[in-house]
C-alpha cells in the first residue's frame, strides 16, 4: 500500500499534505445493527478521498459521524491534530466541515441565492440590533458575504437561476445548488454524499468537473461517497472500500481495483 505518512504526490502531480482528519477504530451500532465495524482511515489535506461500497455498507453513516450527526459507539475522531470531543452538528460545521446530502436537503421555501447565503451563516456574526436596523456590521457583512456567494454562484455556473425558488429547479440543478451552499462556507473539508446519484451522463460530467475544479482552485479537501466505480477511479486520489460495515480495501484507485475482496464485494461473490 502507498506510504502516506509524510504526505505524497499524486499521479497528476498535486502535493497532498499531512493528515487533516483521522478515524480511529470507529464502530457504530444501531441497537442490534452494526452499521460500522471497527474502521480506521485518514483523510489528508488537499486530497480527494472516496468512500465506496454496496448499498447499506455504512458509507452515509460514516459521513454522519464526521458531521457530528451520529456519535460513534466506539472509537475516536481526530481533526487538525486534536481528538475531537463530542459535539453538536452545528459546532462541527463551524469548525470548517461542510456537506451535501444523499437525498437533497435544500431549503425549499427560499431562493437559490438565499440558500447559498445560508452557507455563509457560520461566518456572520452581527448582533440582533445591528440586523434590525440594517446598519453597521450587519450591512457590511451582508454585502461582503454576498460578494463571496456570487463568486461561488459564478464558479458553479448558476447565475441565471439566482433568484429562482429552489422548489422549481430540476433535480440536477438542485444538486448543484446544494454544492454551492456547502462551498459558500469555505470549508476545510467538504463531504459529498453521492453527488452524482440519479444524474444523466452529461450532468455527471459537469459535476465531476466541478469537484475537480473545487479541489484544484481552492485546495479544498474532499471526502465523497460514490457508487459509480468509473467516476470514483477518475476523481479520487485514494479510496476506502466498505462492505457490511467493514473496511475491505484502502488505497489508490489502481490498488483497490486489483484487490480481490473488493472485486468479490462488487461482484457479490462472497461475504
Amino acid at each position: 500500500m502507498l506510504d502516506t505518512s509524510e504526505g505524497y504526490v499524486t499521479e497528476d502531480g498535486r502535493q497532498i499534505g499531512g493528515v487533516l482528519m483521522e478515524m480511529r477504530d470507529i464502530t457504530l451500532k444501531f441497537g442490534g445493527v452494526t452499521a460500522i465495524n471497527d474502521i480506521s482511515f485518514d483523510i489528508r489535506e488537499g486530497e480527494i478521498r472516496a468512500i465506496i461500497g454496496p448499498n447499506g455498507a455504512g458509507k452515509s453513516s460514516m459521513l454522519n459521524i464526521i458531521s457530528g450527526f451520529y456519535t460513534p459507539t466506539i472509537g475516536e475522531l481526530w481533526y487538525k491534530g486534536a481528538k475531537r470531543p463530542p459535539m453538536k452538528p452545528f459546532e462541527v460545521a463551524r469548525m470548517g466541515v461542510a456537506r451535501t446530502f444523499q437525498n437533497i436537503a435544500l431549503f425549499e421555501g427560499m431562493s437559490v441565492l438565499d440558500n447559498v447565503m445560508t452557507g455563509r451563516l457560520t461566518h456572520m456574526k452581527a448582533g440582533v440590533f445591528s440586523q434590525a436596523l440594517w446598519w453597521g456590521k450587519a450591512r457590511d457583512e451582508e454585502i461582503a458575504n454576498r460578494e463571496k456567494v456570487e463568486k461561488v454562484i459564478d464558479f458553479l455556473e448558476i447565475q441565471n437561476i439566482r433568484k429562482t425558488p429552489v422548489g422549481r429547479l430540476p433535480y440536477g440543478l438542485k444538486k448543484r445548488v446544494e454544492l454551492a451552499r456547502a462551498l459558500a462556507a469555505e470549508p476545510s473539508i467538504l463531504l459529498l454524499d453521492e453527488p452524482m446519484a440519479g444524474m444523466n451522463v452529461e450532468e455527471k460530467e459537469d459535476m465531476s468537473r466541478f469537484i475537480l475544479d473545487v479541489n484544484d482552485e481552492f485546495g479544498t479537501t474532499i471526502a465523497l461517497i460514490e457508487h459509480d466505480m468509473g467516476v470514483v477511479m477518475d476523481l479520487s486520489d485514494r479510496v476506502v472500500v466498505m462492505d457490511y460495515g467493514k473496511k475491505i480495501g484502502d488505497g489508490t484507485p489502481d490498488e483497490v481495483r486489483g484487490n480481490q475482496d473488493v472485486i468479490d464485494a462488487y461482484l457479490g461473490v462472497s461475504h
Binding site: S67, F69, K88, P89, F90, A93, R94, A98, R99, F101, A105, L106, F107, E108, G109, M110, D114, M117, T118, G119, L121, T122, M124, A126, V128, Q131, A132, L133, W134, A138, E141, E142, I143, R146, E147, E150, R181, A182, A185
Partner: protein, 358 residues
C-alpha cells in the same frame, strides 16, 4: 408599463439588496404613506378611526409577530391572544406602579415581558414539533388566561377583575384613556407599527431571517450547515412574542380602553392566526392585507345591507362574517397557501411585464 423594470440595472450588490430594488415599489409605498400619514387622519370620522384605522394597524402588528414565529421560523403557536395579554397586563402594571412613566415607553417595554414569557413557553419547541408544539402553546394560552383571572395583583385588586386604561399624557397631550383623542392615538399606533414593521423587514431579509427560514424548511439540514437550532427557535419566540406583546398593549391602551381576562382568550388567538394565514405565512406585507380583510369584513357587512336598503339582523351579520372568513381560510389553505401576499406578488409580476407579456 406601470411596473416597468427595464433600464433599472443593479450595479452593486448593495443596490440589489436595497429595500425597494424596483422604483415603482418605493413610489407605491410613498402613496400609501401619504394616505396613512395625512389623508386618512384628516378625513376619517371617529367611527372610521375606531372600526378600521386603529384596529387594522394593531391586528396587523399582532399577526406580524405571529408570522415571525409561524411563517418564518415554522413554529406553530395557538397562544397569541394570551401573549398579547401579557403585554397588556405588563403595560398596565407599569403605568399604575410608575404613573410618571411615558406611556409610549411603557408600551415598548411591555413587549419585553411577553418576550420573556414567550421564550419560557418556547422551550418545549426544542424537543417537539408541529401538532404537539401547537398543543403546548395552547396549554400556555389556557394557563395565562387563568393567571390573568386568578392573580388579582395583575389588575390591582379591582372588584370587577378588569383593567381600566388611565388617562396618560405626553407633554400635556393625552395619548391613552377616555380623554385621549382618536387621531392622536392613531398616530401613536401608526408610529409604533411602522417602526416595528421596518425592524421586522430588516430582520427577515438578513442573517436571522435566513436562519429562521432554514429552520422552518428543513431543521436537520439547518443544523448540519451550522445553525444552532436552539438559538434560532428561541430568538424567534423572543422577537415574535415581543411584537405580539407590544400589539397587546396597543390593543388595550390605544383601542379597547379596558380589558377583562377573557378578551385574550382563544378567539383572539385564532383571529390573529387567521389574519396571518389569509395574509400569507412568511410575509410582512400580507399581515396588513389580512388585517384589512378580517377587520374590514364585518364593518362592510354591517354597512352594506343598509346601503342597499335591506334589513339584516346583527346576528345574521355575525354569522355571515364567520361563514365568509371560514370559507376564505379553506380557500387559501387549499388554493393559495401563501395568501393575499402571493396574490399581490402575482399581480405585481404581471404588471412588470404588462403590456408586453413576452
Amino acid at each position: 408599463m406601470l411596473y416597468r423594470t427595464a433600464g433599472q440595472f443593479k450595479t452593486s450588490y448593495e443596490a440589489d439588496q436595497a429595500l425597494f430594488p424596483v422604483k415603482q415599489d418605493a413610489f407605491l409605498l410613498g402613496i400609501i404613506m401619504l394616505f396613512a400619514l395625512v389623508i386618512f387622519p384628516l378625513t376619517a370620522s371617529e367611527f372610521a378611526f375606531q372600526t378600521m384605522l386603529i384596529p387594522v394597524m394593531i391586528y396587523a402588528l399582532a399577526a406580524l409577530g405571529l408570522n415571525i414565529l409561524t411563517g418564518f421560523a415554522g413554529q406553530l403557536s395557538l397562544g397569541t391572544g394570551a401573549f398579547m395579554g401579557v403585554g397588556a397586563y405588563a403595560c398596565y402594571k407599569m403605568v399604575t406602579l410608575m404613573p410618571w412613566m411615558n406611556p409610549i415607553v411603557a408600551i415598548l417595554l411591555s413587549g419585553f415581558f411577553s418576550a420573556g414569557v414567550g421564550v419560557m413557553f418556547g422551550i418545549p419547541s426544542l424537543r417537539i414539533k408541529g401538532f404537539y408544539l401547537a398543543i403546548a402553546t395552547l396549554a400556555a394560552q389556557f394557563f395565562l388566561v387563568w393567571l390573568f383571572e386568578k392573580w388579582a395583583w395583575l389588575y390591582n385588586y379591582n372588584a370587577s377583575g378588569a383593567i381600566q386604561v388611565p388617562n396618560l399624557d405626553i407633554f400635556g397631550v393625552y395619548v391613552t384613556g377616555p380623554q385621549a383623542d382618536s387621531m392622536v392615538q392613531y398616530y401613536v399606533v401608526l408610529g409604533i407599527v411602522a417602526l416595528m414593521t421596518m425592524l421586522c423587514i430588516n430582520l427577515t431579509r438578513g442573517t436571522l431571517g435566513r436562519t429562521w427560514k432554514a429552520t422552518r424548511d428543513m431543521d436537520i439540514a439547518a443544523e448540519l450547515i451550522g445553525i444552532n437550532l436552539m438559538k434560532s427557535k428561541l430568538t424567534a419566540f423572543a422577537i415574535s412574542s415581543y411584537i405580539v406583546g407590544v400589539a397587546g398593549a396597543l390593543y388595550v391602551f390605544m383601542w379597547k380602553g379596558a380589558a377583562e381576562p377573557n378578551l385574550f382568550d382563544i378567539p383572539l388567538s385564532f383571529q390573529v392566526l387567521f389574519i396571518a394565514i389569509i395574509g400569507g405565512l412568511g410575509s410582512v406585507l400580507g399581515n396588513y392585507l389580512g388585517a384589512i380583510l378580517i377587520v374590514g369584513l364585518p364593518v362592510v357587512l354591517n354597512l352594506l345591507p343598509g346601503a342597499l336598503g335591506l334589513s339584516i339582523s346583527s346576528a345574521m351579520v355575525e354569522h355571515l362574517n364567520i361563514m365568509i372568513v371560514g370559507s376564505l381560510i379553506v380557500f387559501f389553505l387549499i388554493v393559495e397557501p401563501h395568501g393575499l401576499n402571493q396574490l399581490w406578488r402575482l399581480i405585481r409580476e404581471k404588471l412588470i411585464i404588462w403590456p408586453f407579456p413576452h
